[in-house]
């Protein structure tokens, strides 16, 4: 009999099960993605998954860790999928593969592997890529798109023609407003009248993917994989700054709902901000952490130079986690009124 201490009962829970549920929760979003923007995303999902597992395997081998145990935990696959979903689906294959390898090798394994990384690996991959390849990272597909032409673009067999790609709705809005400058010749309403790019409230097509992420995220809350704190606080933080500006000047500032259903907001709220390893852990800390990210996301989106702000906002708050956790320790049993 091995050295064995109480409790002798264990709940049926595992890291693998947690990660599997996260992957399952992403499926509705992926389905909507494929439906609206073609199968390109599936190619990237496959590429990043293979790259992540390879990178993880090599690093585990180098670090002398058991392969089956850590490859089987599926955490690398979650990172891979988040990268695929955060990147433009028509990005060249080498970009997502390199970004994934960077995420796994540098942002995760070099810090000590599962549980040890201070930064969200997928967001590191995104940040590195958008700084290094801003042009490619800003080319997003329009709706439709068939498998073969998307495949050819991804693997560099066909030129990246303008008809195939376009800016994201967030980017389009920002660029149009910027071009108009102080002349007030363009209003949010006017710009949003373009049905090719904009949908009912968010981006054309993108809003449905956002809703699918929302559905998956709510299921994660119901499954107790994540708590309500972070998504709620993220939405609140983003709304808290978007709403007053929109009410004050609706011609220049898009509605909070537009912001919530555009870009990486919903993916971020339920799948990225909620990464347990790199996020705050106390209930109050979670609220501060996610609300801060929501706020910062808006600021970077609207006033910054990048098409979306989720990645940088997340990374900036990742580094604040120890501080947030330290100052938000909940009182222990019996010490509430002290």
């Amino acid at each position: 009999m091995e050295f064995n201490t109480s409790p002798y009962l264990l709940k049926e829970a595992s890291v693998q099960r947690v990660m599997l549920k996260v992957l399952l929760a992403l499926v509705p979003g992926i389905a909507a993605y494929v439906w609206l923007f073609g199968p390109a995303i599936l190619i990237h999902l496959a590429l990043t998954t293979v790259a992540a597992l390879l990178g993880e395997a090599v690093m585990l081998k180098v670090r002398g860790r058991p392969l089956d145990l850590f490859l089987g935990d599926l955490s690398a696959v979650v990172t891979a999928w988040l990268i695929a979903l955060a990147f433009p689906p028509l990005a060249p294959w080498w970009l997502t593969v390199t970004a994934t390898l960077f995420a796994i090798v540098v942002a995760k394994q070099l810090y000590g592997g599962l549980g040890q990384n201070p930064f969200n690996p997928a967001m590191i991959a995104y940040a590195v890529s958008i700084v290094s390849f801003p042009a490619i990272m800003s080319q997003w597909p329009g709706t439709g798109g068939d498998f073969s032409s998307q495949l050819q673009v991804i693997f560099g067999l066909a030129p990246r023609v303008d008809g195939l790609t376009s800016a994201t709705p967030l980017d389009a809005l920002k660029t149009a407003l910027m071009l108009a400058g102080d002349s007030h010749s363009a209003t949010v309403a006017g710009i949003r009248a373009n049905p090719e790019i904009f949908g009912l409230v968010g981006g054309h097509g993108w809003e449905w993917i956002a809703i699918a992420y929302l559905a998956g995220g709510l299921w994660l809350i119901q499954q107790r994989v994540i708590t309500w704190h972070m998504p709620t606080a993220f939405v609140a933080g983003l709304t808290l700054i978007a709403a007053p500006l929109w009410l004050w000047h609706p011609d220049t500032y898009a509605s909070p709902l537009f912001h919530l259903l555009s870009g990486g907001a919903m993916l971020g709220a339920f799948f990225i901000v909620t990464d347990p390893v790199t996020g705050a852990t106390t209930p109050r800390g979670k609220l501060i952490f996610a609300a801060g990210i929501g706020l910062l996301t808006y600021l970077i989106r609207v006033f910054g130079g990048y098409p979306d702000g989720v990645a940088f906002a997340v990374l900036l708050f990742n580094i604040s986690v120890p501080l947030i956790d330290m100052y938000t320790q909940p009182p222990v049993f019996g010490m509430k009124d002290q």
Partner: protein, 578 residues
């Protein structure tokens, strides 16, 4: 109906209680030999009263309580003492402990039992009786019960909680006790009530024991008006609802912090089995020599036995007919118990359950993965701690930080380990940290003691030196005075013609010596005064203190014992109904 409160956290493992409640309580046969450990409660280790070859009777005191927080131990049956020495202990360490080994004579002859009517006794006398009868908390913490039967002087006693929750899976001894001996449990609680005088007595039982709830309710009702402040309450089944602090929280809404006694909040908690033994001790004159033990797990006949203290665990388990693949014995429940290293270890007052362990019943734990900070442990922690942070610092051996995160508030209930998706044995890390901290504390105390002794020695040597010098000076002064006197006498004799001028020289010298003498006398007097003061400040006699002061000293001793005690020693009022 009483309004119930909730405690945060907790888990709901499969209870596995049904197996052992189908059969009534049975009396286990007297084993071939009984090894009765002397130290069976928190506090001082009782002094053995018997030696090899002594004949003892059932219920005869064989260990004298040492200090106020301690409890006597008794011979569980009549027979011969064949050994007084070290014996395998019912402890996860596998260490030995002092025990009295008795060979039963099979006659099971009682001492002359002296039932008393406690209503005629002073409260101190009742407490003393309980101490002499070895009544201790049978929920698992084995804190001497008489030590909990004094109400706070400043806070009025509001509620007394009687703990029949029995939240740990597999264990059913309290359940069966309440079903079959409800009246005696209630009467025992009545003794505690009369000593503490609370406004309400709340008997909390988890709602998965409807038979026990019914039996207790009926008993309270049958006992009538004298027990009108008693109420039996079914509480939601959620581990660890039977933890003293959790049950107090559920029934009264009060949260007893680790730094306080529950009496400071006007509440006190006792286990049902403790109440039962108190009644047997007072009303029947029977000391605690047996207890109910659930024998369950991988056995063919799971049931509850009335077992003599000191019965070897393997012998008891054999009665339950363990299945062939049994590979260990868990003492206590699966959440807080431990695998007994030596199966010959005796059943003690803390033994509420023996579970036959098998790999099918308790599969080997999956490999430990890194912590992903998911916070499940924090959500499960009934004391609202942050186990993953404490784990982090325990791993880093940063013990100061573990204390900042309130590691000593941890009751080691096991909820965090139970829910951890990375299968980290969190509780084990906390036990490690706690014992390291205790060990360091002990070392520090030892070092301080050594330093004090050294400094005292130095002081003493210096004092002796100065005393010696003083003595010498005194002798010299006396000598000089004598000489001066002689000289003066000589000078005063005019008949003797002393013409030399130099001869009168001693006279001024004598004056100087006298001055010195006077000065020294003043100094000596001052020193004597200081010494007297010092002596007056020191305590002179600790034998004839008033009871209150004695109690205070005992409390301090108990706290020390707790700090210095074994790793699995819960705080005094954490009578855990595991």
């Amino acid at each position: 109906m009483l309004q119930l409160f909730k405690f945060k956290g907790g888990v709901k493992p499969a209870t596995n209680k049904v197996q052992s409640v189908t059969l009534p309580i049975a009396t286990a046969p007297i084993p071939s030999r009984l090894a009765v450990p002397l130290h069976q409660s928190i506090g001082g280790t009782p002094r053995p009263l018997v030696t090899i070859g002594d004949k003892v009777l059932k219920g005869q005191k064989i260990g004298e309580a040492d200090g106020w927080i301690s409890a006597a131990v008794h011979a569980p049956t009549s027979g011969t003492v064949i050994e007084v020495g070290l014996y395998p202990a019912a402890h996860p360490s596998g260490l030995t402990a002092a025990a009295v080994v008795i060979e039963p004579d099979g006659e099971d002859r009682w001492i002359d039992r002296q039932p008393v009517n406690y209503a005629e006794l002073k409260p101190e006398a009742v407490r003393e009786l309980l101490r002499e009868a070895g009544v201790v908390g049978l929920g698992g913490a084995v804190f001497p019960t008489h030590g909990k039967l004094t109400a706070s002087k400043t806070v009025p006693m509001e509620e007394m909680v009687i703990n029949g929750a029995e939240c740990e899976p597999y264990i059913t001894c309290d359940d069966l006790l309440m079903r079959e001996r409800a009246e005696e449990v209630v009467r025992g609680a009545g003794i505690f009530r009369d000593l503490l005088r609370p406004k309400k007595v709340l008997i909390g039982i988890e709602d998965n024991k409807p038979e026990a709830v019914a039996a207790m309710t009926a008993a309270v009702k049958a006992l009538g008006d004298a027990f009108k402040e008693f109420e039996v309450i079914a509480v939601p089944t959620r581990y660890p609802a039977g933890g003293a602090k959790q049950l107090i929280r559920v029934l009264t809404g009060k949260e007893v912090p680790a730094s306080k006694r529950s009496t400071d909040l006007g509440v006190q908690c006792f286990n049902v089995a403790t109440a039962y033994t108190a009644w047997r001790a007072i009303a029947h004159g029977e000391p605690v020599i047996s207890r109910l033990v659930t024998v369950t797990g991988n056995v063919s006949e799971p049931r509850n036995w009335e077992v003599l203290i000191g019965t070897p665990m393997d012998e008891l388990l054999r009665i339950g007919q363990p299945k062939p693949d049994t590979d260990g014995i868990i003492m206590g429940g699966p959440m807080m118990g431990f695998l007994v290293p030596d199966h010959a270890a005796p059943v003690v007052k803390a033994t509420n359950c023996l579970i036959a362990h098998s790999p099918t019943l308790f599969p080997p734990k999956p490999p430990e993965m890194p912590c992903i900070r998911c916070g499940e442990c924090a959500r499960a922690c009934p004391h609202e701690l942050q186990p993953f942070e404490m784990y982090w610092f325990s791993r880093a051996k940063n013990f100061g930080k573990t204390q900042e995160y309130a590691i000593f508030d941890c009751i080691e209930c096991g909820c965090c380990s139970y829910v951890c998706p990375s299968h980290i044995p969190l509780v084990q890390y906390f036990r490690f940290s706690k014992s390291e901290i205790w060990a360091r504390e002990r070392e520090k105390q030892a070092a301080e003691g050594a330093k004090n002794r050294f400094e005292f020695k130095q002081l003493r040597e210096e004092r002796e030196k100065s005393e010696k010098a003083e003595k010498l000076a005194k002798a010299a002064a006396a000598q000089a005075a004598k000489k001066a006197a002689e000289a003066a006498a000589a000078a005063a004799a005019p008949a003797e013609a002393q013409s030399a001028a130099g001869e009168v020289a001693p006279a001024p010298n004598a004056t100087v010596d006298a001055e010195k003498e006077a000065k020294r006398a003043t100094i000596e007097a001052a020193m004597a005064r200081a010494k007297a003061l010092r002596e007056a400040a020191q305590p002179k006699n600790v034998d004839h203190l008033p009871a209150a002061v004695e109690k205070e000293i005992a409390d301090i001793d108990a706290r020390h014992a707790r700090i210095l005690g074994a790793t699995d020693t819960p705080p005094p009022d954490a009578e855990k109904n595991s």
